[in-house]
Amino acid sequence: MAEKYISRSSAIAARMLGGEMMVMSAVDSTFFTLNEVASAIWQAADGRTPLSEIVASKICREFDVDRERAQRGADRFVDELSQHGILLVSEQPIMDFSSSPGNQ
């Protein structure tokens, strides 16, 4: 399967609240909360690091889950957020960093 690169949309608001990340889309006001694992993927979504590498380095190692399960979970999470325009997904590195106002 082709590699995936993910980056955060500029049209979102986000803040950590007690270990969970609140994310709200400015496009359709959809409100999400991300648990610790999802927050880690979110924070690593820099458009340059392949999703598989994020899964290996941030998820498997830090949360002690097996590679296949973590990748499946990450794929589902990325699909859902991208449907709401909250994450941008591409098969190529995403170079437009006007979209990443910080790593809060």
């Binding site: 608001a13 609240l17 709200m24 409100f31 859902e80 106002p101």
Partner: protein, 384 residues
């Protein structure tokens, strides 16, 4: 419980300020008859000071940021402020009269990812709206602004404040909102001026009009449910906190003053002299506000309405006692249910106790910003 409500509860449990209302100027291009502000500039914070406050708010965990005034666009650095706020990933809501928003400004707001814009409209008729704002041509410009914002795909809410002078145009404004494809919210209570001047309270709608608002299905949904007599309050009600002011929310003025809420002008610190988090955590005033539970309210704790009343502690404070009743909310509870409040009964008893005590006439109507009736003409927060 919705996800958003869950997050609010979590912020309350953790004592975090999830929402801040930040007025960046009190200057304005309109002179609304009912406005609670003094529009002179008494030394607004500079761009650098505001940016510093925004950074502190982000660090403190603030997520919802309302930028308002005065008229926000009177500040030349308005877009710079919004840009920094968005870089800091706040959910930004802007409150404006819209007069200075043209295509370019609407596009910029969209580009910056502002989540919603609230615009005041008092009537669908220019002669009524413009007489309130005292700016000729303002309705036309405001409606144009709404169109520009909508065409950018922005979420817009029309906010209507009901007064004796525009009450009958309420349905007209609602129809206008529908026509423009925007949300509509109305506020039936005129609050005193921030400096304590109560003269504008005379603009309030009479109780009979308030009753009509509360019994309007289009505004409140299920009238029977909305106007039902209050259930007997349980222990949870008596242990409850009145509203978010000082608990998960606060207000910052253009001069850096921190209050529990825009409607609760209790000076609690100043960000020009103190760090925001120090004020939030250690201000004796905020801690006093936080300590108050329904059971501590001398009159309200004995009132049948205590569990369902929209009692605003800020309005109570402006009447002289933050633990007291807010007569505007007493009137609302009464007009909604037909059941007199403990405060009304106390006054009646006092009045009949002897000729030395005068019956104080109650202000005709009441409201509070926290409970503005929301009429969703579009989807509200979609939660996942």
């Amino acid at each position: 419980m919705s996800l958003l409500a869950e997050m609010n509860q979590k912020a309350l449990d953790l004592g975090l300020p999830i929402s801040v209302h930040f007025d960046i100027t009190y200057r304005c291009n309109e002179r609304c008859v009912h406005c609670y502000l003094d529009h002179d500039d008494h030394g607004e914070m500079t761009t650098a000071e505001i940016v510093d406050v925004l950074e502190q708010l982000a660090d403190a965990g603030v997520f919802f940021l309302s930028l308002s005034g005065g008229e926000v666009l009177m500040r030349r650095d308005f877009f710079e402020i919004v840009e920094r706020a968005r870089q800091l990933l706040f959910n930004v809501k802007v409150k404006t009269n819209g007069v200075m928003i043209r295509e370019k400004e609407a596009a910029r707001l969209r580009q910056l990812g502002v989540e919603q814009i609230q615009i005041s409209v008092y009537s669908h008729r220019p002669e009524v709206h413009d007489a309130i704002t005292k700016l000729p041509g303002s309705l036309k410009r405001t409606v144009q602004a709404i169109r520009f914002l909508k065409s950018q795909g922005l979420k817009v809410t029309i906010a209507n404040v009901l007064m004796a002078g525009n009450f009958s145009d309420n349905t007209g404004v609602m129809a206008l909102a529908k026509d423009l494809g925007v949300l509509y919210t109305l506020d039936p209570t005129i609050t005193p001026k921030m400096d304590g001047d109560t003269s504008i309270i005379a603009l309030r709608i009479p109780g009979s009009d308030l009753k009509q608002v509360f019994h309007n299905q289009e505004l409140v949904g299920n009238v029977e449910e909305f106007c039902a007599p209050p259930p007997a309050p349980g222990e949870d009600v008596m242990d409850g906190v009145p509203c978010s002011a000082g608990h998960t929310a606060c207000y910052i003025s253009p001069y850096g003053d921190v209050f529990p809420c825009v409607q609760f002008p209790l000076p609690s610190g100043n960000v020009r002299r103190q760090k925001f988090l120090d004020i939030w955590r250690h201000s004796p005033e905020l801690n006093e506000v936080r300590s108050i539970r329904a059971r501590d309210l001398p009159t309200c704790s004995t009132c049948a309405h205590v569990g369902t009343c929209t009692r605003c502690p800020g309005l109570a404070y402006m009447e002289g006692n933050m633990r007291g009743p807010s007569t505007a909310d007493c009137e609302k509870s009464f007009q909604r249910t037909g059941i007199p409040s403990a405060n009304m009964l106390k006054r009646t008893r006092a009045a009949s106790a002897g000729p030395l005590i005068q019956i104080q006439s109650l202000p005709n109507s009441v409201q509070n910003h926290n409970v503005a009736l929301n009429v969703a003409l579009e989807e509200n927060f979609l939660t996942v």
